[in-house]
Symmetry: C2
Subunit: 439 residues, 2 copies
């Protein structure tokens, strides 16, 4: 059974250690390996892409782009119940993100000085959908819906070729993509796919920004291409997924245990934390975790994650909130008798799940919020993925002659104060012309 | 006289070369030097900070924080005309940014499923104001006004100690900071200041995000701390400043020349481009540049920048727009007989200056728009600095029992499709409890 941490008994440095995240492996070997893959794709294009896909992903075809025939054949296999569930999730995600449409702003700051802030969709975006043991249609929706709503000119989806042969992309993924209006799909994955998106090949035109989760090769490749001005921007920094559940003795221990386990099954490096002011609740949850864990197909993964989970006992709920804010969790579940009051006090979580009927699974799939979230403490500064991430903002200003008369002298004064005489001169010339016209 | 590039006569690769930006020096030596400074500040704190400031910036005092006495003494030296100009700029910048206040969003996506997108100011921000030959009060306003409007809990300003002695921070900088409500000011600069902001020292508490321009040491240090989850986020990637002027034969050559020169005087690496469909306009501008240049105090810097400037002659204005969009300039000035029509077609500039009465200086100082802008082609994806950069967005969801009944079954179906059984189980348990209550 996991050790319970008695928070008030810890020193400040012990408290910091109790909330510390695992140090991410900073592998120079991984960096070099990924750099070599990226360089090879940049130099050899499609040829390298096919070779790497055969080597790493068992690609058997020579075609990188998913054909319409293959897509339709796969879509025919979709179970009606799954089709309906994907549609429900799509609808909710779309409703929530559609409410985020940016508004252009226009302000006349001084008479004759019009300033605008405009938003425009990023032209070409690449969506990375991991392969692996199970398809992830939910991630297609989380990335595809905002790209569709923003109206990006090109939405490119890449995902590793399925088994047993290339093109066996899961029908759930293809249907989610279909709803999002995505028709440009390539069956590639790994660092080579990120390289192709960032720099382009003969078949795949370069994109401007890359979104989506992936394994450590994908994460490293995203990091590398984002450091190159000729590469591509990325959605956000990556890290292991996390949940912090804040519960008091009014919570249902079975629900809390299920919520902890649903984070733990993501991977052995998942971070799972329970914070409570109630010893009874913590003990009941521990018993529930043990009994539910035994039933899970992915119990080995969950058990590995649970081995470094933390149960933190606080003196009261105010201290529990302080612990939560210091940790800055990716997912924060709150199940107490004072949920609304506490929710107003959280200042660093990326996504908050309020009350006994709101498990993390709701946001992972179908509540409508985005499940692409900053983790590893980044949520103190990095935003949860939203429609805004698919836009760029730029400004437009227009001065009339009157506007120049009104603010020109101040500009000259400031430019002189900054010893930028050419800046002043660009205004002096115009003020002189205005005086000539009037004179 | 700068060579004129006849755009239609170029091959595609020659066109790409004509718009290529200078390769940024990727100096391993600089990286190592900055890494050493950062590590020393992390290990030795204030002691290292003082030592570096004495070594690099001629700091003579031991005190890092600007005292109230010194500040008041300096403010007394502010010329009334400059005070008024700073106030005008402050007012306009504030009006434009206040119009950008984020609105929280709440959507009921399915009955009983409430989803919220909330914005909250980043708690602690650090503003870097470069020192050098002239003070930059305008940069204080561009960073300080949105930080003040967002309501960041801590706004920390750092700027290199002035000459001849520490604490001789220009009154213009201090007055701009005063208007923005900034009271925590440290007289430090360079990579050591970035390290102190990102990691904290005994005197300076760590911040969450660092804003502002700087020399190559500062830029490299910002880059390095932003790569560390324990460091700090930064505003945007850096690069040399740029202007592209698109003008036809209706433009005033003296104005165009002055606008090109005001970019050229920023530094020898400034990028200056004129695009026009008129040979006559290009020739007239070249003559004007030569005559105005001779009068400038910073003519050596401007001449160096002009030596790699480009005058591009296009077949028509449509082609001029295409060239502009391909280049994606930081600053885009348009002075033609069809300004409004063209402005609607620009899809990649960071800030657009429309018409003869709108020089770049207007946006640099006092129109109200922000002068912190993505450059080096980043404006295709990176936004101009705006109020949003001082906030983080997060989501909150709350399901009622009815909400769980409505979307729970779809969540179970999707979780099963993704082989995430614990995710499904967190919902199955809740649906079972609801059935029990009803049964």
């Amino acid at each position: 059974m996991t050790r319970v941490i008695n928070w008030p008994a810890l020193s400040v440095s012990e408290q910091q250690a109790a909330l510390a995240r695992p140090k991410l492996a900073d592998s120079a070997a991984l960096g070099e390996q990924v750099r070599a893959i990226i360089n090879t794709v940049r130099q050899q294009g499609d040829e390298a892409l096919v070779a790497y896909s055969q080597q790493f992903d068992g690609l058997t075809a020579n075609s990188l782009r998913l054909s319409v025939e293959t897509k339709l054949a796969q879509l025919n296999k979709l179970l009606p119940e799954r089709k309906a569930a994907i549609e429900l999730a799509y609808d909710n995600i779309r409703k929530f993100h559609a409410a985020q449409l940016p508004r252009d702003i226009e302000v006349e700051t001084s008479a004759g000085v019009m300033c605008q802030l405009r938003s425009r969709a990023i032209a070409a975006v690449g969506l990375y959908i991991p392969g692996g043991s199970a398809p992830l249609p939910s991630t297609v929706l989380m990335l595809g819906v905002p790209a569709q709503l923003a109206g990006c000119e090109r939405i490119v989806l890449v995902t590793p070729p399925g088994k047993p042969e290339a093109g066996d992309i899961a029908p759930e993924i293809l249907y989610a993509a279909e709803l999002c209006g995505i028709s440009e799909i390539y069956t590639i994955g790994g660092a080579q796919a990120i390289a192709a998106l960032a720099y382009g090949t003969e078949t795949i035109a370069k994109v401007d920004k890359i979104f989506g989760p992936g394994n450590r090769y994908v994460t490293e490749a995203k990091q590398q291409v984002s450091q190159d001005a000729r590469g591509a921007q990325i959605d956000m920094p990556a890290g292991p997924s996390e949940v912090l559940v804040l519960a008091d003795n009014s919570a249902n221990p079975a629900f809390v245990a299920a919520d902890l386990l649903s984070q733990a099954e993501h991977g052995p490096d998942s971070q799972v934390i329970l914070v409570s002011d109630s010893t009874a609740l913590i003990e009941a949850v521990q018993a529930e975790v043990a009994s539910q864990l035994a039933q899970l197909p992915r119990k080995d993964i969950a058990a590995a994650a649970l081995s470094h989970s933390r149960y933190i006992l606080t003196a009261d709920l105010a201290q529990a909130v302080a612990v939560t804010n210091a940790y800055a969790p990716e997912h924060l579940i709150v199940q107490t008798a004072a949920d609304d009051e506490l929710t107003a006090q959280f200042n660093s979580a990326a996504s908050i799940f309020v009350g006994k009927w709101t498990p993390e699974s709701a946001g992972d799939y179908a509540s409508g919020t985005n499940h692409v979230l900053p983790t590893y403490g980044y949520s103190k500064t990095v935003s949860s993925l939203s429609l805004a991430d698919f836009y760029r903002r730029f400004t437009v200003q227009t001065l009339t002659a009157q506007g120049m008369r009104n603010i020109g002298p101040a500009i000259v004064t400031l430019a002189e104060a900054e010893s930028l005489d050419a800046h002043a001169n660009a205004v002096r010339l115009r003020l002189a012309e205005l005086n000539n016209v009037e004179g």
